[in-house]
Symmetry: C2
Subunit: 276 residues, 2 copies
């Protein structure tokens, strides 16, 4: 059997994986959850996914200041060489929480993949810290990540770009802006490629809080779990790129605030922790 991935050991930290457009003006439930896990008042905002991160830092500084986190600093990596600079690495010293903002997930992985910055993010997580990510920052969490595909269209066999992600949460494919951009088709396509991965589609202003192999849902929308383990037929490996997907016997769960999920057992859990 193959050596398990270096990122597969038990993880004592917390991931907060957000479907984009988390609330900054109202209850700020999701940002509040992030803030509640920081004991030293310090957060690093990694704006690496963005080509033009102007204004991101100010926005998050303002929101987090209201939630008691006064020390929000930015980590931006313009190009890959910067990911080895001592001052960039130093920006993650004494940090318990990193928040990846949105943009393009390929920018995150291409700029920091296999660099000291990525290593440090894993260390923070393994030491019990928090790694949060919204939109592109959410997608990048998985081992294999969805890069792009059509929105609001049924999946065509040739229509999916995937890439290696940060590997913080193995065994899943994450998609974001999920209901808002009509992405069920592309997530089903990703699951069809290999039903070993569980499809996790997260709505805007909605997040999963992952710890110790379980997650719970927070925020105003829903989280869709596409489980292909029972699939009896698919045409994913046949046909031309323009052929529409055909797949039978997916299992689908729709979770919302108060629901939880056991990632190992692939079973939803009620708010009271009871597995169904």
């Amino acid at each position: 059997m193959a050596e398990p991935s270096k990122h597969r050991k038990a993880k004592p930290g917390t991931l907060i994986i957000i479907g984009g457009h988390e609330d900054h003006d109202g209850d700020c439930l999701i940002l509040k959850e992030v803030a509640s896990m920081i004991s030293n008042g310090k957060l690093v905002l990694a704006t690496i996914a963005s080509h033009e991160p102007d204004g991101y830092l100010e926005k998050y500084q303002t929101s987090f200041a209201r939630l008691g986190i006064s020390d929000v600093t930015e980590l931006y990596i313009e190009d890959r060489l910067e990911a080895g600079l001592p001052e960039k690495i130093a920006a993650l010293e004494d940090v318990q929480a990193v928040f990846f903002s949105g943009g393009d997930q390929l920018r995150i992985t291409s700029q920091i993949g296999d660099t000291p910055i990525e290593e440090r993010v894993h260390q923070i997580y393994e030491a019990g810290g928090v790694v949060a990510g919204t939109s592109a920052g959410a997608s990048a969490m998985s081992e294999t990540m969805l890069v792009r595909a059509s929105n609001s269209a049924s999946y065509r066999l040739g229509d999916l770009q995937m890439a290696a992600g940060l590997g913080l949460l193995p065994g899943v494919i994450i998609d974001q802006h999920f209901a808002q951009r009509g992405r069920i088709g592309r997530l089903i396509g990703a699951v069809a490629q290999n039903p070993r991965v569980l499809g996790v589609g997260i709505d805007e202003d909605t997040a999963i809080v992952v710890r110790d192999g379980h997650f719970r849902v927070i925020g105003s929308g829903a989280v869709y779990l596409v489980d292909g383990s029972g699939v009896t037929h698919s045409n994913i490996a046949e046909g031309e790129p323009d052929t529409p997907l055909s797949i039978y016997d997916l299992r689908l769960h729709v979770l919302s605030s108060g629901d939880g999920f056991d990632l190992q057992a692939r079973r939803p859990e009620h708010a009271d922790g009871q597995r169904t």
Copy 2:
């Protein structure tokens, strides 16, 4: 036990249920399927769903003329009283095929529900004829039909308007423009209300051809089947209208051209007719 609905007896006709925007310029696969079932060259285009059906007749006349159907006439019902007029009823004499075009499905049912026109449509179907419908004309086929709800959003408990449909295809809820308008959330909501009904979401330029309890898929997109019979939990009957839906253990099939489905057994069938 309740008397079975008057529309529930075995149906020897064919329904062609189209997700909207069927091709009129290229292969016209779906219109060709309709045309292939008409032996007397005669089709009635029921434009009742539309508030402004100008141009519909000409468009369908042109397309069907190319497919060998030269006698396409329009049936429009401006208001409900007209549905009893002898000349309107006469328009459906010697007709084997009726095609409901798009618009608002509530217009179809409110104008012709429980009128001689509706009765005549059922008679045509029961005598082995074809009833086709696209978009609103597709939605109206079921016993209970989806009228409106948000597109591209996860279902909220209060966010669904349903009404009694024409009842040509019992036991299902049909939704159209399915992937294009991101409607999986609302279809799941409809199924959650009563898992007795099978959710059928049909993409644009895609249709199901229903005969004798089975259907097959034609066209360029996909058909989504949401089967709630195994659901283990949902919050549909709890909570405030704005609460997002939570539902566990839906079964989901994605079918495309060449796939079929056994409506009684709720099982997909391969192109060769084999059940999985």
